[in-house]
């Protein structure tokens, strides 16, 4: 089979830039499943052991889909057709690798578009004053009013771009970037985080209906009801400018008119920014600069109060960090793309805890340090004097006989440097300080004994480090 020339060229380029990155041609970790036989999925499903977390996850999504199936305002035949399409996509191995991970997103979309059909009697009462009140109490002013009190056509378009256009396109771009440049399986985590963040957001919007800023501008603080139409707020100016009805009608028929809190515009965008920061940390100012622009545009277009934006971004923050510590792989900065990874690693949140690593908080260590403090001066009581002697020894480093030359060179100066934002150039001083190369090092004891002839500070630090490392060793293993 010969491909058209342009297509062949694309495939070649893809091979050259991405697939050739594979550390070994036999590695399949980054490969896609190209099978189409549904039987394979059924066999896999039969043999699959679901964990409790997965049972809750899929059970919950099933409930949401069932709810939507009964309430969705379309003819029954279409409901069956849509369900069948989704089911097929989940059964064919090639499509299921994307669709099963994206189920939370589909659940959110389905739930959002069917939410207008929830009877008004079932819904909680609409809050009109709570948001502007909290906004003023927490942030000193009504920030939406601040930003919307001066309008310009140029600013309208500038605000429309992230709010009305980029909002709907960035998730796809981000998903593509995560797939190409993230470690394998990270796109699943994105689907999980993005879907659940929005699902939770819509739940809050329904359980806590609140009026957006445009409501206050149109109706003041008068009571609201569910028969009221939505409004495009400042976006109607964009419609007028372009002469096209893009938003006025859409927002009038919005499924969730009183869904100001939390802002899912802010939530979605910051989920994108969080994932992009995770993938490309050096470009963090760009991602968060975009969030700043989007926040401004939502307030300028009178669609959200600042407190809604904060609720959205905090929700994203929590969901993202839950995902990061449970199922998001670790990015290796030295790897170029998905196909460069030979293995996938995850964070063990207990192992990276700095305090546990240092043995702080464990009772045996506390006891030891208390005993030590009774005989030695503690770190806090007379540090200056101890430091003083230390400095003298260091400044005359040529005259100091360091008894553990082997340990001297092993200094984690690079990690020390990276821990600071500001450049630290006194690494020289660091290098002259004998440091325990590893908490499990065999030399530990001998070096401790020998360094006792050095300065008292080193001794003190080392004994503390050694005691904590000994206590910390079993848990690390």
């Amino acid at each position: 089979m010969t491909l058209p020339r342009a297509l062949q060229k694309t495939v070649d380029l893809f091979d050259r830039f991405f697939l050739l990155e594979k550390p070994s041609p036999s590695l399949t970790i980054a490969d896609l499943n190209l099978q189409f036989d549904p039987k394979l999925s059924i066999i896999k499903f039969k043999n699959y052991k679901f964990t409790i977390g997965e049972k809750i996850h899929y059970g919950f999504l099933l409930i949401v889909f069932a709810w939507v199936f009964f309430i969705l305002p379309i003819p029954v035949i279409f409901r069956f057709l849509m369900s069948a399409a989704l089911f097929t996509a989940c059964v064919i191995p090639f499509t299921s690798q994307f669709f099963i991970s994206a189920l939370p997103i589909f659940a959110w979309l389905a739930f959002y578009f069917s939410s207008s059909k929830i009877p008004a009697e079932w819904r909680p009462r609409i809050s009109v004053k709570f948001l502007p009140a909290m906004e003023t109490i927490l942030y000193g002013d009504n920030l939406s009013d601040v930003l919307a009190s001066f309008t310009l056509s140029f600013l309208d378009v500038l605000a429309w771009l992230p709010y009305g256009f980029l909002h709907f396109t960035t998730p796809f771009v981000v998903a593509g970037l995560i797939f190409l440049f993230g470690p394998p399986t990270s796109l699943r985590s994105y689907g999980f985080a993005f879907g659940y963040m929005n699902l939770v957001g819509v739940f809050i919007q329904i359980l806590f209906p609140a009026a957006p800023p445009w409501y206050k501008n149109l109706h003041g603080l008068e009571p609201a009801n569910y028969s009221m139409d939505g409004s495009a707020g400042g976006l109607s100016r964009v419609d007028a400018l372009f002469g096209v009805d893009m938003y006025t009608t859409t927002f009038k028929n919005s499924p969730l008119v009183f869904g100001a809190f939390p802002s899912l515009h802010s939530g979605c965008a910051s989920m994108d920014a969080l994932f992009m920061t995770w993938l490309f940390p050096r470009l963090a100012p760009i991602w968060w600069g975009y969030i700043g622009l989007l926040w401004w545009s939502t307030m300028y277009l009178t669609h959200h109060y600042f407190i809604d934006l904060m609720a959205g971004v905090c929700l994203s923050f929590l969901v993202f960090h839950y995902t990061r510590y449970t199922n998001l792989p670790v990015v290796d900065a030295t790897k170029f793309c998905r196909w460069s990874y030979a293995t996938v690693e995850w964070i063990n949140y207990k192992e990276v805890d700095p305090l546990a690593y240092l043995g702080y908080g464990r009772e045996d260590v506390e006891m030891q340090s208390m005993e030590a403090s009774s005989s030695n001066p503690t770190l806090f009581e007379a540090p200056v004097f101890e430091m003083g002697s230390h400095i003298i020894s260091r400044n005359n480093s040529s005259s100091v006989v360091l008894t553990a030359p082997a340990a001297i060179s092993k200094v984690a100066s690079s990690s020390v440097r990276s821990a600071h934002l500001l450049p630290i150039v006194d690494d020289e001083a660091l290098v002259s300080r004998p440091e325990t190369p590893s908490v499990f090092d065999e030399e530990d004891d001998s070096r401790m004994a020998s360094s006792s002839s050095n300065t008292s500070l080193d001794e003190m630090f080392d004994s503390e480090r050694a005691s904590s490392s000994r206590a910390g060793a079993p848990s690390k293993r």
Partner: protein, 218 residues
Amino acid sequence: MARLVLPKTFLGLPLYIGVETVLGFAALNKASGFYGIISIFTGHPIGFLQAIFNICSILMFPIYIMGLKAITRLHPESRVNVTGRLALVTLTYLFDSALSVLFTLYFAHFWFANEDTQATHPVTDSTTDTSQSATPAYELFLTVSTTVILNAARFYFSLVMLSYTKGLTKVARSQGRRKERKLSGKFPPADEAKWYAERFYQMEDKSLDVIQNVFKYV
């Protein structure tokens, strides 16, 4: 006493996750200052205390960002050397929390005195359906209880920050280096490019001293 009051975990999770969350929320909230100060350009009236509040937010924003950057390094060894920075950030957070209680009181007064005029104007339009709208009493209850809960959360967050920083200072190994720099008063030439570096290190050292002295007595 500190042993009794300070939480050992953040809602059952390791403290560092709590610090990440607290600093993340704090930094994000400080963005309000930038939007608030735009009042100067949009012509929206702004009071003196509102301006002060916004300026405070803008000043604290970079400190929280630095704290976040320091804490989100993955490798445990690298975090040990950020004790001074964490001490500064913790003190900032404590100061910020105390200040925000005062501002909250003032702004609550401001809202109920000036903006919340609805209570005095009963609905004139008799056709308006009010059965689906929250009653003023309910909204008042919601506003007051949320304010109280948020301040209580801030108090707990402050304790989490203190507890973590206390842990770090106890096991700090970077402190010798910091003290030395303080005593010798010399800075390597590369730091001179950043005019704020020296001042910043001094602030970190000072914060570390304060935190350590506090924990000496409690």
